[in-house]
Symmetry: C2
């Protein structure tokens, strides 16, 4: 179940930080480690978890591996969230922003 992979992946604060960093622009694993006080194997393992959750995707570039946000994971979260739209409060600021951006 992919939903399980997604929520489990996001349950770890380090992985959310990695994801947020990637959201600002794709980069390789070494660049991701900069300023993050995390070992190389740990980063590799986190990226593996994010990858199987479809939150991140990789692209080999020589001996580097460039990582970037995978929209598929985000879309799946949006789908999950949409199931409960009956319970969304009418005027949450985030939703207004969301609406404005999607209307474009």
């Amino acid at each position: 179940m992919i939903e399980n992979d997604i929520f489990r992946a996001l349950a770890d604060p380090t992985r959310r930080a990695i994801f947020e960093k990637l959201a600002a622009g794709g980069m390789n694993a070494s660049a991701l480690r900069e300023g993050m006080e995390i070992s190389q194997p740990a980063m590799s393992q986190h990226l593996s978890v994010l990858r199987s959750a479809k939150l991140v995707r990789e692209e080999r570039q020589g001996r580097f591996v460039n990582y970037e946000v995978d929209p598929e994971g985000l879309a799946l979260i949006a789908q999950w969230l949409a199931k409960y739209r009956a319970y969304w409060p009418a005027r949450i600021e985030a939703l207004k922003v969301l609406l404005k951006d999607m209307d474009q």
Copy 2:
């Protein structure tokens, strides 16, 4: 960090099932257990986790405790998701549904 509580709460499939059940209508803990093969303490513990994640809220009714979906948790997920709207694919079906529902 509430984000942490939310994603950790949703990382468990049993808790997502409980949440989904409550989304169909509020009910007490005993009613929730029906058809779920889960012990009474386990249910109580799961509800406690969902409660501290603001995904569920309680309302005492005599010796029963009625549980229902708390919109606050869902709104927080929406906020988190909104941060990455730049990566949402243009025409995901779920997002269209989402947009349609939020408009008007």
